[in-house]
Amino acid sequence: MSHVKDLIGLEFKPYTMTVEKGKIKELALAIGDDNPIYYDLEAAKKEGYAGIPIPPTFLQVIDLWGGMGSVEKMEKLGLKLARVLHGQQSYEYVGDIVAGDVLSVTSKVVDAETKTGSTGSMDLVTSENQYRNQRGELVAITRNTIVHRH
């Protein structure tokens, strides 16, 4: 892709998904995270939550099950799936997110550049997602950088 900078500002279609207790448990089990707050409402309440909270990386579930899958997303960006790797990821938690919350997400490309390293050149594409709950409160901001090897 020669004009990767043209991707800056590209907005993905917004999406909405409910935070499901079962998906929280499923992700925690897959990671092997045995923190009781993800499984037991009483344990969550003891830590000051109104419901079962999400593990730190759970917003990935909202993105992939609620929004576009990685295959579609790469098509939209014009990048080849087999040449794409996850470069960087950040999560900023602004407010609590618990089971039953309904999250609405906006997502756009905020940075894109081509770099040349020892193994050849590559595109770095960074998108930022903002998550708002059913009360309209901004609860999280994430940034994701993918690396597309030429």
Partner: protein, 135 residues
Amino acid sequence: MIFYEDVSEGYEFPILEKEPITRVQLVRFAGASGDFHPLHLVEEFAEKAGMKIIAHGMLVMGMLSQGVTSWVTRKNVQKIQVRFSKMTLPGESIQIVGKVLEKKPDNTVVGEVLAKNKEGEVKVSGIFEAKLPSR
């Protein structure tokens, strides 16, 4: 619970040792997360790309985050940012290590967190911020 006064700059958190990553775990993680990239699941796809099946970077970040939330309570974590530096293969055992880099006057603690294999190779490196309660 850990308090702001309990840690100083350079304080090393207890190491979290994870079980070896299995192929079944990658399948389970794919379903849980919704990341069905064939590089994590399909041998033939990986071979065609000149690679081997690798673990999801986000699985390792999930383990890294588990480390952070074993050191400070989940509710106190404000930010986790990571860089994926090396691929992780099924069979590797990940350990999560971390230390305090900086203590800010507003009770924010900035820490380093690394996911390494048994040989000490860093797979994912990150920084986290947590606001700790005072005694």
